[in-house]
Symmetry: C2
Subunit: 307 residues, 2 copies
């Protein structure tokens, strides 16, 4: 599909893209760039690319498709570095969880001769780094593209086809809208998870060890999200600040309301609050966004209920 | 092990106990009681007992072990009902997620001729009702007993052996201590999950459908806990009020601190907050409380990372 694809950054998303591109024959040649020699060496051991470069400008030479797979805070520096070396007609995209900021960081530096189509594959795990990737990561998941008006249709189609071949369903939307939706579905849940695990981490040592010991009662679910890459999430917090603060504000108001209901022994209100949420779980499963098996089908705990 | 065991309440825990007791031959006879005729009929269809009673007093006659498997708010009424019918020397226990309140509700009504040993198997799924039980629910999970001082040693040993045969590791602790630990590991996570899903439920219809559509980005994890039984969780909120309000208070303070760091673009602080939580996830996995597979090993997303 492409003669040469360049991956700038080779963490979970970059390495997964490498695996799926190899499997699907999406690129004749894969060029890998990382700022860290250690990461680059590991990528080479894992055979994730055909060429390896510390210098991103070197890596993008002659590339038809450049995919920036770094934390979103690095996008401006990457754009500045690669701009002079980009091939005419190349497609430049990214995989960041925030879109308006990425556009603001990258667009002013990119030449008019390339097609800039920002993207976000909504897929991931709690692991990071070049070892964490796998070819099926994007299967059945959404990939959102946020091209600005006037972007070349052929470039958008080509990138759409690329992600579809990776197994994703592609949807196009406006960058700010993406950022608002993701603030609720992704950013808030991660920050809440980091926060609750942080609250537990602050406890006295003896209580903390008991919290870990008895974590199967609910707490363990949060520890997974809270094990995600700190650099990535720091950058998301800084680069989608307004939508996140707005969303955190709503959450906090609702939490005060819940706290008040508990303090006032308002059982009816609590029952209502705990009932309406079941419908959302049902919809999530119906939309194929989660499994119906109890406890996410964790090993040995996943017996399907009888009805 | 017991001639006759009575299950009062036949939801997830009661029905799972029935399955494991049958498998392990723990009871010659199982008597099932429920306040609802419909539930009792379903329990009969599922062959969960040998006798079925709407009246809990009828159900406990001649029982050697009585296990109260109702929401914690029903314990006082159950104790009053069964007290006159209990056999001399019987063991009475429960499975509630709150212990001090259960003791306060039940103990004054129970005769001195029975052995009251409150218990809490730390196991569950997001499903409820007589259909949701399965024999392996308690395997490898903790069961906490909170007998008061002076409780008959033989009764505690006997109940310990019972839970061990169900596959659990048994630990004894003081009721108030149990309630504090569980407020953090179980109650807070559930209320936070209910709250975040509630916040999403309040959104305008179009945004809400997108939140569900893109829920694989983090939100879906919370919908599982927020699909748990509303009656059970209403009762937990009302019956472990002080520990929960204290825990929610800590969480809220920490959340304000996080919000402040985002508003002030304090990247270093955010990075620290998002780093220290990884160690807790590691410990949870090392302690056998969760699986290491990415995304909890959900279907088709569970490829183990290369390292």
């Amino acid at each position: 599909m492409f003669d040469k694809v360049t991956l700038i950054g080779i963490g979970l998303i970059g390495s997964s893209l490498s695996h799926v591109m190899r499997r699907e024959g999406l690129a004749k040649e894969i060029s890998v760039s990382s700022r860290s020699q250690e990461t680059l060496d590991r990528a080479k051991e894992l055979n994730l690319g055909d060429h390896y470069h510390l210098d991103a400008a070197e890596a993008v030479k002659d590339a038809d498709l450049v995919i920036v797979c770094t934390p979103v805070g690095a996008c401006e520096a990457v754009a500045k570095t690669i701009a002079p070396a980009l091939k005419k007609g190349a497609i430049v995209t990214d995989v960041g969880s925030v879109k308006a900021s990425v556009i603001k960081q990258m667009k002013p530096h990119l030449p008019d001769t390339v097609h800039f189509v920002p993207g976000h594959p909504i897929a991931g795990t709690e692991y990071s780094g070049p070892d964490s990737g796998f070819a099926s990561l994007f299967e059945g998941r959404w990939c959102v593209l946020t091209p600005e008006e006037g972007t070349d249709d052929a470039a958008v189609s080509s990138l759409t086809k690329f992600w579809e071949t990776c197994g994703s369903n592609v949807e196009t939307m406006e960058a700010n809208h993406h950022d608002l939706v993701l603030a609720i579905t992704s950013h808030l849940p991660h920050f809440i998870a980091y926060n609750i695990v942080g609250t537990a981490d602050d406890l006295a040592t003896d209580i903390k060890s008991e919290v870990i010991k008895f974590s199967a009662s609910g707490f363990r679910d949060f520890t997974r999200l809270a094990a995600s890459d700190p650099t990535m999430w720091r950058d998301v917090a800084l680069h989608n600040k307004d939508a996140i603060l707005e969303t955190l504000g709503r959450f906090s108001e609702d939490l005060s309301d819940l706290q008040r209901a508990i303090r006032r022994d308002d059982g009816d209100k609590l029952f209502d609050m705990f009932t309406r949420t079941r419908g959302i779980r049902r919809s999530v499963i119906e939309m194929g966004q989660d499994v119906a098996a109890p406890n996410f089908g964790r090993d040995g705990e996943g017996d399907e209920p009888a009805s």
